[in-house]
């Protein structure tokens, strides 16, 4: 199927098209470092995400917003799925907490069977950050410096611009590009 045929199939709600959505959007996102832990925490299954995406795309006609001009349909849809996961925190909306309804032990703490070693996950994320940062450095060290100074040392754009003798607007532009590139590097390294 060509990209246009795939888009038309997805838009029409055809099974073949939505099978590809499952394979290229839902499964990779659910297995991604970014979403897997949150999805488990908020008890969202891949089936739930597929349902939400279908309802949004077909029910609410969000698919019409996609400009079919050669852009990456799967990447575009993954942004939606990522949003469902990140916005699923019940505490963030002032609703009741799923954690609060769990059975409690004698100390009043919610009982849960640990399924992940948080230390391992944290180390993996840290390693991945370094890997992506190295790619950024190889592309343009200036991007790496700006990202490091703004995110790790909390310098303002004005401070960075004064350090490197470039304009503030330029700093913001470099920073925005470096963040975008870090995200792209992350996706690149996540691919099996």
């Amino acid at each position: 199927m060509t990209a246009t045929e795939i888009y038309e199939a997805v838009k029409a709600g055809v099974d073949a098209g939505w099978k590809l959505v499952w394979e290229n959007v839902i499964v990779p996102e659910v297995n991604s470092l970014r979403s897997s832990e949150l999805a488990r925490k908020y008890c969202i299954t891949d089936g739930d995400l597929m349902g939400m995406l279908y309802e949004d795309m077909i029910g609410n006609r969000k698919i019409d917003l996609f400009r079919n001009d050669g852009g990456n349909l799967w990447g575009w849809m993954r942004q939606y799925v990522r949003g469902y996961v990140t916005r699923a925190n019940p505490n963030a909306h002032g609703e009741f907490s799923l954690e609060g309804t769990a059975e409690q032990n004698e100390h009043g703490e919610p009982m849960a069977i640990p399924t992940d070693d948080l230390g391992v996950i944290r180390n993996e994320v840290w390693d991945m950050t370094h890997r992506c940062f190295k790619d950024l450095w190889n592309d343009d060290p200036r991007k790496a410096y700006v990202l490091l100074l703004k995110t790790r040392f909390h310098l303002s754009s004005a401070e960075v611009s004064e350090m490197f003798d470039i304009t503030e607007a330029n700093v913001d532009q470099i920073f925005s590009r470096s963040v975008k590139q870090m995200r792209e590097n992350w996706v690149k390294h996540e691919k099996p």
């Binding site: 190295k134 060290p141 200036r142 490091l148 790790r152 310098l155 350090m163 490197f164």
Partner: protein, 105 residues
């Protein structure tokens, strides 16, 4: 060209591990508060097991910094001038030149 007031910025450069992760080194470059073009930055260079590098040459930011007893110096102005340089190399007697890069932490 001036670094922020009241903020010391430590940048860490590490060797890129080779096949057997040998000849490791790390260099911490400290940018002091309110540094101007002439302000010297202090480089602290360590080899394996955090032992200071007695003698060597550290190539970064397009400049070659002499390392003696684990310390080296580079003017802040020269540091900023070489901001586009990707090449980072540690050269020590008895070791092959080992490349490195800036790290996030």
């Amino acid at each position: 060209m001036k670094s922020p007031e009241n903020k010391t910025i430590p940048l860490l450069f590490w060797s890129v591990p080779g096949t057997h992760a040998e000849h490791l080194w790390k260099v911490r470059v400290t940018i002091p508060p309110s540094a101007t073009a002439e302000t010297p930055l202090v480089l602290a260079a360590e080899g394996e097991n955090s032992v200071p590098i007695a003698k060597g040459s550290f190539e970064f930011m397009g400049a070659r910094v002499k390392i003696v007893n684990g310390k080296g110096h580079l003017a802040f102005g020269d540091f900023v001038k070489g901001i586009h340089e990707t090449g980072v190399w540690m050269m020590r007697p008895g070791h092959p030149p080992v490349p490195g890069a800036l790290t996030f932490g």
